[in-house]
Symmetry: C2
Subunit: 181 residues, 2 copies
Amino acid sequence: MNWSAGGACSTLDRMSSFVHQRHKSPLDQPGARELVLACPPMRSNVNLSRIVRTAGCCGVQRMIVGGKPKIDRKVARDAIDQVQIDFHRTLPPVLRKLKADGYELVGLEQTTGSQCLCDFRFKLRTVMVIGHERLGITEDVLKLLDHVVEIPVYGVPHSHNAATAAAMAMYEYCRQHGTGV
Amino acid sequence: MNWSAGGACSTLDRMSSFVHQRHKSPLDQPGARELVLACPPMRSNVNLSRIVRTAGCCGVQRMIVGGKPKIDRKVARDAIDQVQIDFHRTLPPVLRKLKADGYELVGLEQTTGSQCLCDFRFKLRTVMVIGHERLGITEDVLKLLDHVVEIPVYGVPHSHNAATAAAMAMYEYCRQHGTGV
């Protein structure tokens, strides 16, 4: 390759200045991520498994899951080994316990009084509560929440897929808290 | 219901202050969203269809798609009717044309020189270029890009699903540009 002054520019024109570095090592997180995900019994195990994968990538270490659904390893990948998943018959008792432990309970839903995800400031110790795909967050859980955040929607369909919405909310939490220190 | 001073508090304690308002009307967007999504031939039509749904929710009106894949209406929902999807045998010619029309080409990938999605400032006229699930963005497309952004990863697996990553990037674009004015 000719790096002489005359040839450099035209050579560079044909080369990409971006070279793949796929599957980089994750960022160092000095402590456990203080974000807990809570999911009710979901309609789709694929959605739940997608949430597990995203949680793993976001460094989440604990999920609270309603029912006893099967997590699909093909979808969740090795997040299934990183994220501790606690199964509960119903969510309210464990949510009350987490609240008593100093967690803020934040639901992802469209409700009266819901705040835009973009403007909401997450506390470090947060339980992010996801809703069922069709029914959303049930009334017994809604009344325990400290805040509800919603994702602005600009077109059709009028709501995001539940796992997509959870991914956006986890991204926003990580954007605010980085490695969590 | 008793709203007298004595009863109000205990009544409120048992009620949720958040009441469902699911599937709200989308936010008014005065003009067309100036974000274009570009997807290569993907491995999974479900991933592509999920991207179409998210694009619809984000008010995106145009996608450039490599190959002639089938979009699954059950996944994409009525976004399939809102988003104009242009199919192309290969992406570079249409990307060059969009660049000439003033669009900035931003790839979503882990590369040398890639910037953190959280810090990157999207121009209004942006083509967001997604990569293939396994292979990422191909070399012929990489060398056309103005910027590459990557999503920080804090755990395993070491990369997000392609449709999840696209959703996070679309969320970040919308967070910065709101209704696009």
